[in-house]
Symmetry: C2
Subunit: 148 residues, 2 copies
Amino acid sequence: MPSRSKLYPTPDDAETAFYEAFERGDLAGMMTVWAEDDDIVCIHPQGPRLTGFDAVRESWVQIFAGGNSRLRVRTTESRRFAGPNVVVHAVIEVLSVPGQQGPTQSVCATNVYELTDYGWRMVVHHASPVSEPAPLADDPAPPAHTLH
Amino acid sequence: MPSRSKLYPTPDDAETAFYEAFERGDLAGMMTVWAEDDDIVCIHPQGPRLTGFDAVRESWVQIFAGGNSRLRVRTTESRRFAGPNVVVHAVIEVLSVPGQQGPTQSVCATNVYELTDYGWRMVVHHASPVSEPAPLADDPAPPAHTLH
């Protein structure tokens, strides 16, 4: 397991490490990306809101035990909001199974990184399934499907 | 309509204005909270990812036309990550209908604010329905329900 030293000199380095650990099902690698903090927030697609390092770690234990580590992730359409110590990447994750044809799944993710004493770490990962607008509709957001 | 001057001297002021405009169904008030930027991102619960001021505005036109302005919103369990020009509030929104009994709805929201030339403005609102963990389960995240 890597030491919790200044592994990630930039938010991009932390993000790359996050998705690589996800693809490999690498729990130790995954948890070195996260800040060791009681206030970190992780929302997996259609999952509950998890707060704190221990709860977030346990969720990844379960996800990797479920074999999701076979998935490959490509991120697209990143929108970035950057400050000196807090950076936000709003991305679309395109998930696929290597060697398998067929439709991919897409997930909206808002990733927040904070500059800590140990370099840049993830503090929020909010993921939810991408809902596609109806192909023939002019409306960008179908209001019947939204709470707000 | 308020001018797009420095209305919101703090991220909290912008957040208060966001939820007040939502409750009132006040389109002009809502859109003064958002940064006038092509890169803003808004994801309504179970809706598509909307980017840019015009798409975000159109979604609120539709939502307010649908009568959701009767909802009341209380935010709880805020987790905050703050820098000098970018601030993130990860909150739970508790939505209710005034005068009506019965269960409320909860939404996880990640709100990102940026300090612009016009004061603090919202640049990301990522909302998704709260999924409750099964009441008797020890597991904080049911892996069968999550993509990752």
